[in-house]
Symmetry: C2
């Protein structure tokens, strides 16, 4: 695990590494299969699959198609994921710059795959091609070693500078509060207005219902949610989505 | 114009042509500029820009960035656009297969860049890099020669087979009714339950307001909108979006 983390941190720290042609060290690459010269056959184009996932056209999927493991791995460890994330952050900052900020204004941040990254875990576990394993994922989370997602962190810093209140809203359970606080601080998120974890009243509820209910309560209590950023559409849809929403890439898993 | 159309139709008819490495004949290619080895610089990655447009992260844009003309042109005339469209159609068909269809069930289709294609026009006009020209675009529309988008047409045929009512809902003005009917039929859309063009009560209104108001009226009059497909987020957001929405790729223009 530590080795993987080192690899990831090395990649994060040295963009020049990411610029090389992309064979990565975690998994051997396979040729992409499933392409067909007849596009209207039910073949998997991993690039099309990823676009369909990012645009919410394909929903409720369990795992990444096996033939897309190499594609998703290269994307996530390579330069394009970082560029895509940078473009989202840039769009959000441009929008925020145009706001006349008031004391009520808040921005909702999701945590996993938005503010912090589970990529070291997924790199060791098939990049989303393997079924979710609650035991091993929970063990990984409790290590508190998720690296920061630098582009979202850049947005976070700009929003603080603009005087917008940062509210972290996560599907993590409340018994993970202390490790979550520690991991956020370790990642460079040193301050926030609220950190909301999933309490027992919502256990068993979908992310969509839980998060939109909480956002509605925030607005009723006086906040104006000027922005909302997450890697899942369930962070961004439903009642009270916020005045603008920003979808961070995540081709590794789906939460409804 | 006829030459361009011929090129496009030739590409559509012969997928093998599209499989070749992608230099196309309409515009000379330029190297993509604006890349940077430091991803957090405000540089344009055309691929990231397209993803951000497709996920509604970048909104209200006027024209395609000039440095992305070659990229967008290759994408639109090449194989990936067709594969991406096929993946959307496949996802929609899979969803429709699972429906227990009743007589109330309807599916809303947008027309331009969803059911029929203005690609011959855009290929001759910078692939969206040039400002909208109402005169020349209207002249092109009135020729009634838009080619069919074959993947959406495949979805249309399947939905008819399932007994779902097809409703075309377009931002085209009502005075374009007869050419629109002719072009739809020419493209292979021979039957529909309703064809709704933009009437004078909505002139000057946004696409989002117009389309969501019409959809709400449809539901109030007894239809159940089980699906909704369009190339613009303004086709798919707002009240009464439909039980499922499907976003067709369009990196050439934005309508709010």
């Amino acid at each position: 695990m530590l080795t993987l983390l080192s690899i990831f941190l090395a990649l994060s720290a040295s963009p020049s590494l990411c610029d090389r042609p992309q064979p990565h060290v975690v998994h051997p690459l396979r040729p992409q299969t499933g392409f067909s010269s007849r596009p209207n056959v039910y073949a998997v184009s991993c690039l099309s699959w990823r676009l369909a996932v990012e645009t919410d056209n394909i929903r409720n999927w369990d795992v990444v198609p096996k033939e897309c493991e190499g594609y998703v791995g290269n994307y996530m460890l390579g330069r394009q994921y970082r560029m895509d994330s940078a473009t989202v952050a840039n769009a959000a900052i441009e929008y925020a710059k145009g706001l006349k900020v008031s004391r009520r204004d808040a921005w909702v941040f999701d945590i996993d795959e938005t503010s912090l990254s589970n990529l070291p875990y997924y790199a060791a576990n098939g990049f989303g091609t393997m079924p979710y394993n609650a035991t091993s994922f929970s063990a990984w989370t409790l290590e508190g070693r998720l690296p920061v997602l630098p582009e979202t962190h850049r947005l976070y810093q700009e929003l603080l500078r603009f005087g917008i209140k940062v509210i972290f809203l996560t599907g993590r359970a409340q018994d993970q509060t202390s490790i979550t606080v520690a991991n956020l601080k370790r990642g460079g998120y040193h301050t926030w207005h609220k950190l909301i974890l999933k309490g027992t009243p919502y256990s068993g509820e979908t992310a969509l219902l839980y998060k939109s209910t909480v956002r509605t309560k925030l607005e009723k209590s006086g906040y104006r949610i000027v922005g909302n950023i997450g890697d899942q559409w369930s962070d961004l849809l439903g009642p009270t989505p916020g005045n603008r929403t920003f979808k961070v890439p995540d081709p590794m898993y789906y939460l409804g």
